[in-house]
Symmetry: D2
Subunit: 147 residues, 4 copies
Amino acid sequence: MDAAAALALVRRVTESPGYTHEMGTRVLAAEPGQADMAIDSRPGVLQAHGYFHGGVIAGLADHAAGRAVTTALPPGRFAVTVNLQVSYLAPAEGETLIARARAVQTGQAICVAQVEVSVLTGGTELRCALATVTLRSVELPGSLVRP
Amino acid sequence: MDAAAALALVRRVTESPGYTHEMGTRVLAAEPGQADMAIDSRPGVLQAHGYFHGGVIAGLADHAAGRAVTTALPPGRFAVTVNLQVSYLAPAEGETLIARARAVQTGQAICVAQVEVSVLTGGTELRCALATVTLRSVELPGSLVRP
Amino acid sequence: MDAAAALALVRRVTESPGYTHEMGTRVLAAEPGQADMAIDSRPGVLQAHGYFHGGVIAGLADHAAGRAVTTALPPGRFAVTVNLQVSYLAPAEGETLIARARAVQTGQAICVAQVEVSVLTGGTELRCALATVTLRSVELPGSLVRP
Amino acid sequence: MDAAAALALVRRVTESPGYTHEMGTRVLAAEPGQADMAIDSRPGVLQAHGYFHGGVIAGLADHAAGRAVTTALPPGRFAVTVNLQVSYLAPAEGETLIARARAVQTGQAICVAQVEVSVLTGGTELRCALATVTLRSVELPGSLVRP
């Protein structure tokens, strides 16, 4: 898939009705093996102290990882998360949460992406989490049913 | 904290305006060291194939783990997630997503909870994910600022 | 595979020349979906403070998980670790390190095991670590070459 | 601590009697926040197919991460692993296993390191694993006793 097709695919999946649309997820950039996403601050994505909730960070990292890997797979295949690991480094306080996912392995069966999550505040980005996501490559659509 | 105080605390944190309220998170049960949560299916929590999104599962597991641990800590302390690990076992297809978190370690510095996530469909529960959450115990409120 | 065949397979793999033999790994029990292993204390498995080294704990958990899953797979297949996650709960100080692995998912592609690690000292067992291991099921022998 | 002191400390800890010495661990380089380690191939570090065993990879990553973080901490403190996560990317087949650890967070309580593990074969390095290690910073020596 070329860069334009990758961006179109990532936008379509992210902006369709569902969780990522509900969270206000915006696609910043995408090309095969890469996907950058953002969510702007609003009460519905924060925890009690006014930081982005850990679940929002985990969800954005998971989604970005899935898009980074799927755009690097052969046609007719997509990536399903089997393991998500998030290290929280600092409180995610700021205006916009940004996740940058990079595919580091796209095997026939197993794929891995790493994601750097930062928070933008007053024009400055601070890294607030790192994620490693393990995915499997499945054929559309039947093999989705069971891991 | 006794069981009634634990339940009241967990309800207050979960139902206050913010991410968990926005996701429609319901508290099923809570006592010191334990917290059970649920989210009912609706389009805003699903992914493209109609399953609960991995980010919703991760967020519910994280929140339940934090409540299970915080209710087991001495007064004036609460738990902040430092590491979240989710293993996805099966597509989360069903009416209600349920997370049951248990504190397995509540040290002075580091705490660990395990979470079993299942999906309820037609009266049957199917396990769909397992999470291990590492948290640190911090004093209210100053020590929240930096890990 | 029946229980006797599982035990024989696990013993053969564990006691053959290589890492697990070098570490002094003993098979305590094994049946399809389960494997219990032990390593006795000696200087070569300890860290600077006299506890079992974290690498020994991780290695024992990984090996036990692989055996628990492989014995539950159809003939001709075996399990290869793709992700290992270990939570260290307490210093592993004692005479014998014990890992008990249980397969919790044995799908066609992806398998998951959980492992409880404890240390035996003066007749008492103390839990010192929990591990979650994600594996993939591969055919013997060609598919081992690349993930 | 300056670079020479860091290297001396890392060498002393790694080469003292115990697990890392037994595994034949060599220090390639170390400075505050960084530690590079290697283990040469021999039967006692391999699994059944002749690759470096996953436990050896996990142990080398854990040890390198601990050294990278400890050398970046204030005097009188050292790092203890609380969570180890390893993603295995490719079979570790080759002459020498190399782990390069970098501290990415050294907070007062919690520290995080990332480790890239590769295998050297015929002059070429192939990345075979990525690890994320969460550690806590403790005072020497009393606070080691319980997490």
